[in-house]
Symmetry: C2
Subunit: 288 residues, 2 copies
């Protein structure tokens, strides 16, 4: 199947599931704030990776969609909290006012907490026989050894002298960890063996590193429409970026290196990995 058609079809299933994901029984305005954050336009890349990674080994089933939705909830909560005035202080996200601009700071904090908690509730309510292990993988990637840890490094070191090892660690936590949650979460649900899981983890690391470097490069030159946010903001705020650490030309080379690393990791899946392979290659196309 054509990549664009497959992606559009998958995204449509995800959007339908997201629309009914926040229970009507949640009190207002909490419910509104959570839905505002979750349904804001987005690529749905993480839930898509989960479903497509699962699909490499097993036919699609509705019992897997709950995990895809939970992952998007975790992604959405992290954006809401990242955008807060005390964090990145962003007023626009995906072309809309950020959650705290629309609902106030207190409700945005609670909406983030609510989304993180609801993501876990959803996974814990699953009747899938591999629910516990998949939920643990996703939770571990989202937490202090993954995404939250990467975000803490970012906050703690913004404006400080550049250190390559630290930027790698920070970017792996901030970006690669949730890709791993998606890919390995999907693979676990599909009953992958240890070798397949290791391949999925390598792919996620490569994709995550490449993605973040490409994002850093686009921030240097991209326009607001392509980027979905204000370009040049990283540099102005003293954010740790890969081009600032190694230079722009080396950063381009590294983006290619990590993309190839991701593609190579998919070898054990052969033809079944077409979608994941194409996802990595298309990201790289954004800077070439």
């Amino acid at each position: 199947m054509n990549y664009d058609v497959q992606a559009a079809e998958c995204r449509q299933r995800i959007e339908a599931a997201l629309k009914t994901a926040i229970p009507a029984t949640v009190v207002e305005p909490l419910r509104g704030a959570m839905e505002y954050a979750l349904l804001a336009p987005g690529k749905r890349l993480r839930p898509m990776l989960l479903l497509e990674a699962h699909g490499m080994l097993s036919p699609a089933g509705n019992d897997v969609m709950d995990f895809a939705v939970a992952l998007e909830m975790i992604h959405a909560y992290s954006l809401v909290h990242d955008d807060l005035p005390a964090m990145d202080n962003d007023v626009l996200r995906r072309g809309q006012p950020t959650c705290h601009v629309a609902y106030g700071e207190a409700m945005a904090i609670l909406a983030g907490d609510g989304l993180l908690n609801l993501a876990h509730e959803l996974m814990l309510a699953s009747a899938h026989p591999r629910a516990l292990r998949a939920a643990h993988e996703i939770s571990a990637c989202a937490g202090v050894h993954g995404m939250v840890g990467g975000q803490a490094l970012d906050i703690a070191h913004t404006g400080h002298a550049v250190d390559r090892a630290l930027i790698e660690r920070m970017q792996t936590g901030k970006t690669a960890a949730l890709f791993r949650a998606a890919v390995c979460g999907g693979l676990i649900l599909a009953g992958a063996d240890e070798a397949q899981l290791a391949a999925g983890a390598d792919y996620s690391l490569g994709l995550g590193r490449a993605f973040q470097i490409i994002d850093d490069l686009l921030d240097l030159h991209g326009d607001a429409a392509q980027l979905g946010k204000t370009p040049g903001k990283d540099e102005a705020e003293g954010k740790l970026t890969w081009p600032a650490a190694v230079g722009e030309s080396q950063a381009r080379e590294d983006a290619r290196y990590w993309t190839q690393f991701a593609v190579d990791a998919l070898a054990p899946f052969g033809d079944r990995a077409t979608f994941l392979r194409e996802t990595a290659l298309r990201a790289l196309n954004r800077i070439s």
Copy 2:
């Protein structure tokens, strides 16, 4: 066993477990901020209720302590986020500077996120045969239909006209829900049947309602030392309190009513419920 001796012994086991609960591998200053919040002096009431509720039906086991620790992490995260400037804007908690005063607002937000996430990781890593159901109960009580929902009602309605039904719903979410997480979480792990779980839920509702009303009454008249926070703050900030809704004398009567409700609910457990019964009666003693 004497109540005070039993409580002290239980608290000591909990403190020992809390001290090693944040992995040394977590990045600084995130780790410090999480530990600061988790180890701040506290009564450890929720983990104690979990262990003692479990103990009514089953001998103590180390595999249950992870759930007690997870529950205290959820309680600690909620305090860190509640204290933030955008929420209750408290600078003192348990006699110490609040987490955002000590570590900055951004790190406090992340420490809260990290604690909520780590609580779930801990439960999901458990090998206890009833882990999934207990974790789901605890997560559901902590989330948008429980604690987070109650907190949202509090934030959304502070300063508005008083409505009894809304205050009940808010206080049930804010206080009774985590007591239910403790009691029913412990009972589930101990293999309780449906009737025992219903009794545990009733006890938690009674204890939670009584606790919150007693807290509201103490806020009217208590001194800072007894209260652990500045008295009169609720009224000054237009917080929804039970005495403001029904009058002080009725509030005292309601505190007694809900305490009795909690005690009566324990009937199916007979003599095994001494600790839980005494916990409810001692809370009431604070206002008599």
